[in-house]
Symmetry: C2
Subunit: 346 residues, 2 copies
């Protein structure tokens, strides 16, 4: 079997995980769940050389040193340094343009957690097989709650190892999310994709010809510096940023999905991290990191990088002390953390 | 009218106001409500030279410099430095023994807040008048809730400006506290007293002869150093610490009380401070000090001495950041703060 080419995207800012996630050290590069960062987890999932080629990492210049440090020794790995953040379509197209036409890309965000790596691999192999048949493949994450914060994929006709995608659904309201969950026909769009490089670029050229041309010009005028590739800044700067879903997936006639029930979480906010860490909770549902004293508290997530945190009588609250900032939020409020004044500070 | 001699007691530790209140800088010396510390408030209430003599402050050696700094220029003020903390009876007896027999003492804790100073003065004058008639007088604080954390005074026969005390009641359970509140016959024992010096010492000699003798020896063997008086350590060390209520008030036949409805609070914990600061609250009931961002929160007290505090979605919670410690407590939990590991650290 031909090796799959992992493409690891490092574009997320993770402002809802402020104050730990900062512009200079965003979510992918933080050891949120254990000793590994989410970026290191993403690398580890595709580290098996029997099935995966060395990864292509796409990141902004501000994070190049973080990527290099956390990438470690990975012969053949490449780092594409984006001159500007342009959402996922240009980032993926850059990587595709650097690979042979028949290479199969596995596009992986670097800020997600996957508990079951075996299930991830199985889904990746199924997705790659469909991509070799010129399907544009999305992982359909098994939905376990009526989440209103994600897009959904509605499954259509069966394909080998997956399904055609019958419909892309924007973030639904709660009533519709509950219907989707009950029907069993919908899964979450987790932003993990498989494409054949040449096919993806051809579809992009069909639906977004200007973007495709600009990406090609940025690659042709680019500069290689060891393992790093710097696309030409000028053509890339002119691109209107767009997600791969909008630019290609929702337009193509060959969208497919593979079901993936793999303990996935985008660790989208502190409540989601608390859920992902539930296995470490004490008998009262509390999870702590660092110097924390709890008294009469339940379902508390408390993390501190130094100062002692003392919590009395609280339930369902996250207390995060990091870099001289103190955040206290309910689980329900966690979604609003990214809009705090502190979260938009440098 | 003869001047009243204020005796300001600085013995309280205030561990329930940790992490702001520490052993080295306890509650009386903190500006909890405004620019003045509670100790400075206590001094200011008795600063009127037409009615009050210079104060006698009783404090431990650890806080002598704090007392001196916050006392400021107060000609004639004296500082009695206790060799050891022995509760209120020995502290008050020390001060009484340093005054003429006919001096009237007004004993004031230094860790209480009084919103209405005029009402305080009126009660003080009434108490002093009764003390001159050899009553041992306690302020009966107007109860406005069924508090279970205080002792109660039950009023008896009327006296000029006050009442005889019919009964001293220990901290009641909630049902009894509710009865007391409904009956109107009970008020809180706030620890504010008026005594004629010679009479107090005579009563102490009657009920606690050993303590009275030890205090007398500590004064006779003591040493004056400018405004400071150091009681002899050895006799004082032998005293069994006891409150003035147990040692004298509950035993005397001449216990009296003056009603005092004066916006009193012992600022006993963070919830009590939040209540005392309610006048500063925003429209959602939040009170903040320092760099605080609130989002979707109600009835929050947030105080920080530096690090920014961001609070999302909380209700009825106190967040205190002080000296590198972070405390998050519900109002209901505030009573338990003194038992936290941090609160017993130096």
């Amino acid at each position: 079997m031909t090796a799959i080419h992992p493409v690891i995207l490092c574009g997320g800012s993770g402002t809802r995980l402020w104050p730990m996630s900062r512009k200079a050290l965003p979510k992918p590069f933080l050891p949120l769940l254990g000793d590994e960062t989410l970026f290191e987890e993403a690398l580890a999932r595709v580290a098996d050389e029997a099935h995966f080629a060395p990864p292509i990492v796409v990141a902004g210049a501000a994070h190049a040193e973080l990527v290099t440090a956390q990438l470690g020794e990975r012969p053949g790995a490449r780092l594409v340094i984006e001159p500007a953040a342009k959402n996922t379509a240009p980032a993926i197209a850059l990587a595709a343009a650097l690979l042979p036409e028949d290479a199969v890309l596995l596009v992986c965000p670097s800020d997600h957690h996957v508990a079951d790596r075996q299930a991830f691999r199985a889904a990746a192999f199924a997705a790659a097989a469909l991509a070799r048949e010129d399907y544009l493949v999305s992982f359909g994450i098994a939905a376990d709650r009526p989440e209103t914060g994600y897009g959904y994929l509605r499954r259509g006709e069966p394909l080998p190892g997956g399904y055609a995608i019958r419909q892309f659904v924007e973030k639904p309201d709660l009533a519709r999310a509950q219907e989707y969950l009950a029907s069993g026909d919908y899964s979450w769009n987790g932003g993990i994709f498989a494409f054949r490089a040449g096919h993806l670029l051809a579809e992009l050229a069909a639906f977004r010809p200007e973007m495709a041309a600009a990406v090609r010009a940025a690659v042709e005028g680019g500069r290689t510096d060891g393992a790093r590739f710097h696309p030409a800044a000028e053509p890339f700067a002119a691109i209107a940023g767009e997600s791969i879903d909008y630019a290609v997936m929702e337009n193509t006639a060959r969208a497919a999905m593979v079901p993936a029930d793999m303990g996935w979480s985008d660790i989208g906010n502190w409540a989601a991290l608390a859920d992902a860490l539930a296995g470490e909770a004490d008998q009262d549902g509390n999870v702590v990191r660092g110097s924390v004293d709890l008294s009469g508290s339940r379902d508390v997530l408390a993390i501190t990088d130094g100062p002692r945190v003392s919590v009395v009588g609280l339930e369902g609250v996250c207390v995060i002390v990091s870099g001289g900032e103190v955040l206290v939020t309910t689980r329900a409020g966690a979604q609003a953390v990214g809009k705090l004044p502190g979260a938009s500070a440098p």
